[in-house]
Symmetry: C2
Subunit: 401 residues, 2 copies
């Protein structure tokens, strides 16, 4: 049904119909790019997935309304770093809308066709004059290959820009993301913008995005916190050769392409987790349902005791079982089995006579796969996380100062 998924070597070569830029609007304390613009040369189908936090930032409120009212005519996304525009009340909403108005004027489209995203400190109003002067510069800098500049402009505590491009069956998909702290499933605290050149009906684009997010951003945990601003938006320009339909394999191809981009971005976020030194895959098998497997995986991935043990390279597996036991999911402690990579540590809930030195060696690796088998069913899920380190404490103890 579906063909070859090809990872595009030169990340973010651009996607037909789109251009991007990233410029310095003076929003940060230090000079650095802080305002990104993604623009399409025609109205696009678009879909979004947003934070489930009940404290929602102004741009999330604005974008959700626009994607409900106007999902087949989105032209651009303006993204600023430094200020989250969250907990900013009516003035915050007004400023988000005003930013869209200025962007629309500069791009010669309607304000309802422009989405906005913000990331940064909560509770501070957008410095709206700086946004106003930045927008014409961002528009003038728009380039088909400007995605890397955009990826750089949206970074906060990220140490690297995050980007990915795939091609499958003639469909091109590219995306950028930011996020390294406040990362939790449902949604990871992050922003991502994904673009495709396929021609996609809105309802199919929504379905494909939901599935891609479920396979990617909803599987990662950095510190278990969830932000007020999490947003993933996909735009489809239709400037390419493929029109996506439900039953001819093209929807499957789009879903695979979107998923590949989102998974790559999600993994980049975990690799770049605040202060992280290790990438940990937690695979929970033998579950009665995927949801239960994921719930246990998330609880393990959120445990500060588990995460500090990996930082110390200590195979303290008891903490993994203890975390599983408090996940709120029925389990039988006597049926648990645990592996670090291919080394089995636990069988029937008790330790086997394993090689302790080897277990600690594995726990000290930069990449580790933990497999916990519940012995209760046939379902499984994998969650990705990182360790909890001194540097995490440094970064988050003084984020605003």
């Amino acid at each position: 049904m579906t063909g070859i998924l090809r990872q595009v070597r030169h990340f973010i070569e651009g996607v037909k119909g789109f251009s991007a830029s990233g410029i310095d609007a003076g929003l940060r304390k230090q000079p650095a790019p802080d305002l990104a613009l993604i623009a399409a040369d025609r109205p696009c189908a678009a879909a979004g997935v947003f934070t489930t936090n009940l404290v929602r930032a102004a741009p999330v409120i604005v974008d959700e309304a626009r994607l409900r009212a106007n999902p087949d005519r989105i032209r651009a996304i303006l993204i600023n770093a430094a200020v989250a525009n969250a907990c900013t009340g009516e003035p915050g909403l007004y400023k988000a809308e005003q930013s869209a108005i200025w962007t629309a004027q500069a791009l010669n489209c309607r304000p309802e066709e422009v989405l906005v995203m913000s990331t940064g400190v909560i509770g501070v109003q957008l410095p709206i004059e700086k946004i106003q002067s930045g927008i014409p510069v961002a528009v003038s800098e728009l380039r088909p290959d400007g995605w890397s500049s955009a990826a750089r402009a949206i970074m906060t505590t990220d140490t690297k820009p995050k980007r990915a491009s795939y091609e499958i069956d003639g469909i091109n998909v590219s995306g950028i993301a930011k996020g390294s702290g406040m990362i939790s499933p449902n949604m990871a605290t992050m922003l991502a913008v994904v673009a495709t050149d396929a021609n996609v009906p809105v309802v199919l684009l929504q379905r494909a995005l939901r599935e891609a997010v479920d396979r990617s951003f909803n599987r990662i945990v950095v510190d278990g916190d969830m932000s007020t601003n999490d947003s993933v938006v996909v735009m489809a320009s239709g400037a390419g050769d493929v029109t996506v339909a439900e039953n001819d394999g093209t929807l499957a191809s789009l879903t695979i392409g979107l998923s590949a981009v989102c998974m790559t971005l999600a993994r980049q976020i975990v690799y770049d987790g605040e202060g992280a030194t290790k990438f940990i895959s937690i695979r929970v098998t033998g579950a009665r349902s995927i949801e239960e497997a994921r719930q246990i995986g998330r609880t393990i991935a959120s445990s500060t005791l588990v995460k500090t043990a990996f930082y110390g390279g200590d195979a303290n597996w008891g903490r993994i079982l203890a975390a599983a036991g408090r996940a709120g999911v029925e389990l039988n402690a006597k049926k648990l089995a645990l592996w670090y990579d291919d080394l089995q540590l636990v069988l029937d809930g008790t330790p086997v006579n394993y090689d302790e030195a080897r277990a600690n060696t594995i726990a000290g690796q930069p990449e580790i796969t933990i497999k916990l088998d519940l012995g209760m069913g046939l379902q499984e899920a994998t969650v990705w996380t990182c360790d909890l380190t001194h540097e995490y404490v440094d970064i988050n103890g003084h984020y605003r100062t």
Copy 2:
């Protein structure tokens, strides 16, 4: 109805009918007390509250069964540090029961009258010969004023022994506890033993303990993890002057006395939280129910972003609102109000024009009270927690090594 609650100055002066000891049985890597015994000179009424983790240590399984079968004839509690006897299967259960048999022989009572508790590393079998040789020593060291020795023997990463004594209306209540990491509500990962000289029917003792635990240990969060071994047990000797009954005020007095001891012990645990430098009270008001208030308080208290911000003395209040928003409780972001001590920072979900320097000064204090008002109802709850520090990462990165 109830009289004066008097904090006994010299902690753990002893409670009529009980003696205690703490000795070095050689369980730790370094010489130090590691085996504690609390014994009554007659059969006691007893009640317990245990971890809700589904991975339960052997001593928890043993004690729950004994308190079900034999709640009015408990004579002693043997507690060891260093090894948790969790994830140890049938051999672990056998060793827990064998420890009780030896203790009963030395005390000349029945094995079913002895409870056991363990704390330490998960997945390691009890060094049973050391326990066997330690028991007669612990028995020979029993003293009415031996509680402080017992409190010292059960410490793990604790830096201070934890103990409290109160007297109310002729009822004496004393207790010891251990616990500094893996502390979460429902139950905090900790052990506590409380003794009273009142004569109490089992059913009233259970009710009073449940209420005391709800007001104390179930309100504290150090790192959000919950252990396999959490246990609080109370024993009532009846050697004092008061017999507790339901309707004459004595049950209320007992409940207040038990609550005072448990709250003092719980606060000591938070003060001694692994690496903690700050004591943070999170008071959630204006809730529709106590349970919802507590759920939001716990989510804030468990947020690593909130806890690292307090470590850094950074009044990053947006993280508190963001944590509240993901607590799984309905709330209206526009109604939230927030105070640090008596300084109001947020009204109607947005920041007021507060004194930033003063907010940071408060965030840097050793004791801070955060009040979050939801504006939805009349209920409230308070949760206590500590900050997340470099030292926490140190301690837990290398706990076993």
